[in-house]
């Protein structure tokens, strides 16, 4: 993974930059020794590591603003970081950039049950929000699997999802407002406790912008009342196609489950060996369908789902009878990644998203690719919304395997795009998928996105080297060549 060349002029000014940051953030908030910076050298895409120029941990919005203004004035790059759980290298440090770690912004500021929202600092963990309100029967809906550790600020940056997106939406559908600092040090508020934007929906634009547009300093999230019941149905099919058909049939029948997950035979075997959830080991395709809502509705829908599954040839149909059993059904799915970690020294988790109708085709082609590259691929995915998480098993100590793994991953993502899908459903582009952006987008598409970037960060100082395969200067992007051949286009109807 190639990062932009380091700016030797900036590296030479390191001590001056550290001193300037110390003047803004006193005490232990600036870390410049190697041992102190070590914990920050990577995020959850741990195959790639890089020491930052210096780490700064501000505690106030004024400090964040002063840091960014200093960086803008001195053309110093900045990488923002929340919980450091990005799977795409979104918060991976850059050698000539300050790492702006938001971990000290960890307070829940206000909980407003009547208006069903909470105002929190960006360093609060995703689960921390739910923990703060669950005693009143409320929760925060998006639940990425890293929710114990990932921060709300990072969730905004990545537009994080989880297993319940199909019914409850991604981060972008569950935000009401943010406060953020622009690269020039300006502090702006978007949204609040009310709905919708008064001007352009910049809150929507910020969500999923991967830390390239601004630094979030406060977040207002929507709270939901916990569903009164949830039950899970475990469905085993003799073929993957049968399982995929069942997914389509459930949705076509008008049911939107709270979650609908699929695992292939290898993933099922790993998970079963790891947690003993009672999964059927003969199933080629295993579905976990969760239905939530009022008890009568859940009972009614559980029956309908079971009926649809039987009609599609399910050989296992088991309904959870109590909360303990429901949690057990999920335990295997939730432990699927570490379970796969038990059978392979390393694995790479992909995140393509495809139309549901293409699941079977994509799975079959993936098998062919897996054979070609001589690397095993295990599949766990959010079947309800077509979001795949193929896990490629490899050994990172073998440079050839790492290289083949990267190439196989790229081929699988190209396949996703070819069938009408996209490179990433919830993990973000970061550095991991950066060089594949051209598979999904034309140069014009990417130029338009970079022009939006220029509106926020004209010198490309925020989170450099991420998302865009090839950076173009804003001045160059802004140039407009108006040709003077005023063809009247006689064919187009005019009146």
């Amino acid at each position: 993974m190639e990062m932009p060349p380091l700016d030797s002029a900036i590296l030479a000014r390191r001590s001056e930059i550290v001193a300037a940051l110390r003047a803004i953030v006193p005490g232990e908030g600036v870390i410049d020794d190697l041992d102190g910076m070590r914990p920050f050298e990577c995020d959850a895409l741990s195959a790639y590591r890089q020491m930052p120029l210096v780490v700064v941990l501000p505690e106030t919005v004024a400090q964040v603003a002063a840091i960014l203004r200093y960086c803008q004035d001195n053309k110093v790059k900045v990488v923002p970081r929340g919980g450091g759980t990005s799977l795409s290298g979104g918060s991976m440090p850059v050698g000539d950039a300050i790492l702006l770690a938001m971990g000290k912004f960890n307070r829940v500021l206000e909980i407003d049950y009547a208006n069903r929202c909470a105002r929190v600092q960006p360093g609060v963990t995703n689960l921390g929000v739910t923990k703060a309100v669950e005693h009143e029967g409320f929760y925060y809906a998006p639940d990425p699997s890293s929710q114990i550790a990932c921060s709300i600020g990072g969730n905004v940056a990545e537009n994080s999802g989880g297993v319940h997106c199909l019914k409850y939406g991604l981060t972008t559908n569950n935000l009401l407002g943010i406060e953020m600092v622009l690269m020039n040090g300006e502090v702006v508020r978007l949204g609040g406790k009310h709905l919708d934007s008064e001007g352009y929906d910049l809150l929507g634009l910020m969500t999923g912008s991967e830390g390239l547009l601004g630094v979030v300093t406060e977040v207002t999230v929507r709270l939901l009342r916990k569903p009164s019941t949830a039950r899970a149905v475990l469905l085993g099919f003799p073929t993957e196609a049968g399982a995929a058909d069942c997914v389509a049939a459930v949705i076509a029948s008008g049911i939107i489950p709270g979650g609908m997950e699929m695992m292939d035979k290898d993933a099922t075997k790993c998970a079963e060996a790891y947690v003993g959830a009672g999964y059927p080991l003969d199933a080629e395709g295993l579905l976990i369908v969760e239905l939530d809502g009022p008890p009568v509705e859940v009972d009614h829908l559980v029956e309908r789902v079971a009926e649809i599954a039987r009609g599609r040839g399910a050989t296992t149909v088991r309904v959870s009878h109590d909360e303990q059993e429901r949690v057990l059904f999920w335990a295997g799915r939730k432990a699927a990644f570490p379970a796969v970690g038990q059978i392979s020294p390393d694995y790479m988790c992909l995140d393509g998203s495809v139309p549901r109708g293409k699941l079977v085709e994509v799975l079959a082609e993936m098998r062919v690719l897996s054979k070609q590259y001589g690397l095993r691929v295990v599949n766990v995915f959010h079947a309800g919304d077509g979001n795949l998480h193929p896990l490629i098993l490899f050994d990172a100590n073998d440079p050839d395997e790492l290289k083949r793994c990267e190439e196989l991953g790229a081929d699988i993502l190209r396949l996703c795009v070819r069938v009408g899908g996209v490179l990433t459903g919830e993990h973000g582009v970061g550095i991991e998928k950066r060089d594949l952006m051209g598979v999904q987008f034309t140069e014009i598409d990417l130029d338009q996105q970079m022009r939006v970037k220029c509106a926020f960060d004209p010198d490309h100082l925020l989170n450099p080297g991420k998302v865009f395969p090839k950076l173009r200067r804003c001045a160059e992007l802004g140039r407009l060549v108006v040709t003077q051949n005023n063809i009247p286009f006689p064919d187009i109807p005019r009146f």
């Binding site: 407003d112 049950y113 009547a114 208006n115 069903r116 409320f138 939406g169 991604l170 702006v188 978007l190 406790k193 709905l195 919708d196 008064e198 352009y200 929906d201 809150l203 929507g204 634009l205 969500t207 999923g208 912008s209 009342r225 389509a248 049911i255 809502g293 009022p294 009568v296 509705e297 998203s353 139309p355 549901r356 109708g357 919304d385 077509g386 979001n387 899908g421 996209v422 490179l423 990433t424 459903g425 973000g428 582009v429 952006m437 034309t442 014009i444 598409d445 338009q448 996105q449 022009r451 939006v452 220029c454 509106a455 802004g478 108006v482 003077q484 286009f489 187009i492 109807p493 005019r494």
Partner: protein, 389 residues
């Protein structure tokens, strides 16, 4: 003199924009023109008519996605979805009659450009939440796309969000993919009779915070309506639960069945209660739900003749004020106070809209940022010049 250019496909659309760019001619971009009376009046003699780029491209009910061309009428989309028991969950309102036109006009893309939403905004989101992707032409005459047709997609910036609600000022779309959802089997409404505004909003917020999955909460003078949707046994059970929850409120309760409910909520959605006096200025105020009654009380203290009702559990106030040259914009926006929110002038005479800020004024930093975003799409200001003020 107004002239019109009416491209028939994406290629002609791009050529038309390229022509306008070369000639330096700003464009009044419209579908069916059903919302022309909304926004700042434009001084623009060249119409770009998108109604020639029309039709469903692909509809996959089991994928919950419909892809269609920009000029496709909303009525066509809704009829198509109804055949498969699906719907646009954001419940787009038909503002035609409110704006002095016939009902049933307008395009889906027009609703997206206004980021419209009905009562289900609370539980299902607005148009922004349902636009999965688009293709179109920017103000440089370049064809570009963003998003896609899949449910989960974080590849690149989510330009769909910033296009939704941009009133056609950033780019001209030729095709969109929109998420659709199953339509509910049954609808029921619990009516609480005779509550004042404050008590009504308290009741609505309690209902929204209950596990009964209320999908609409509106308060009209004397009537507070709570909507439940879903499969029959579920609606029945939740209705019972909601009734029990509301006993403490002490209001007389009535129920509406599916058909009556649909008619009632359609009227709320389309702002029918304020249609009667066409010369009154109509405002849409978005605020924190619990602040709604205080905001309206501050306005009514100055304008006792104001007519109003609430949707979105109190977070949306539809307000009609007697005719005035400045639409009382200082009063309305001043009434928002510190709690935050915004007020949009939805209906007013052209002369009023020409002088009054139709959209909520923003801070200097946000105005500058929005201008830079606009420039990033449309550097020469070709599209709907001045429409958003």
């Amino acid at each position: 003199m107004t002239s019109t250019i009416k491209p028939r496909d994406a290629k002609e659309l791009r050529q038309a924009v390229e022509w306008a760019l070369n000639e330096g001619v700003p464009l009044d971009v419209r579908g069916e023109g059903s919302k022309l009376a909304l926004g700042k009046p434009m001084q623009c003699g060249q119409v770009l008519d998108l109604s020639g780029i029309s039709g469903i491209v692909d509809y996959a009910p089991e994928e919950l996605v419909v892809t269609l061309r920009a000029g496709t009428p909303m009525r066509e989309v809704e009829a198509l979805l109804a055949q498969r028991n699906q719907m646009l969950a954001f419940e787009p309102p038909d503002l035609g009659p409110l704006l002095g036109r016939e009902p049933g006009q307008g395009t889906l893309v027009g609703a997206v450009m206004g980021n419209l939403a009905g009562s289900r905004r609370l539980s299902a989101g607005a148009a922004r939440d349902h636009l999965l992707g688009f293709s179109g032409v920017n103000g440089r005459g370049e064809a570009f796309k963003s998003g896609g047709r899949v449910m989960k997609n974080v590849t690149g910036y989510d330009l769909s969000k910033v296009l939704a609600g941009s009133w056609g000022t950033l780019a001209v779309l030729d095709e969109v993919s929109v998420k659709v959802l199953p339509a509910p089997d049954q609808t029921a409404t619990l009516m609480l009779m005779g509550l004042d505004d404050a008590a009504a909003v308290r009741a609505m917020c309690a209902a929204m915070g209950s596990p009964h999955e209320v999908s609409g909460a509106a308060h009209l003078p004397g009537r507070t309506a709570l909507r439940l949707e879903g499969v029959a046994p579920s609606v029945e059970a939740r209705l019972k639960g909601l009734r029990e929850l509301m006993v403490d409120v002490g209001a007389k309760m009535e129920e509406l069945g599916t058909l009556e409910s649909r008619a009632f909520w359609r009227e709320v959605r389309d702002v029918v209660p304020l249609n009667a006096a066409p010369d009154e200025n109509v405002w849409k105020i978005s605020c924190p739900p619990t602040e709604g009654p205080a905001i309206l009380a501050r306005i009514k203290a100055q304008r006792p003749a104001a007519q109003a009702f609430y949707d979105w559990s109190g977070g949306l106030i539809w307000l009609a004020l007697p005719p005035s040259a400045d639409a009382d914009h200082g009063l309305v926006r001043g009434a928002l106070g510190a709690a935050g929110g915004h007020a949009t002038l939805i209906r007013a005479a052209e002369t009023v809209r020409a002088t009054v800020p139709v959209f909520q004024p923003q801070s200097a930093a946000l105005v500058a940022l929005a201008a830079r975003v606009k420039e990033s799409f449309d550097p020469k200001g070709l599209f709907n010049p001045g429409r958003m003020g």
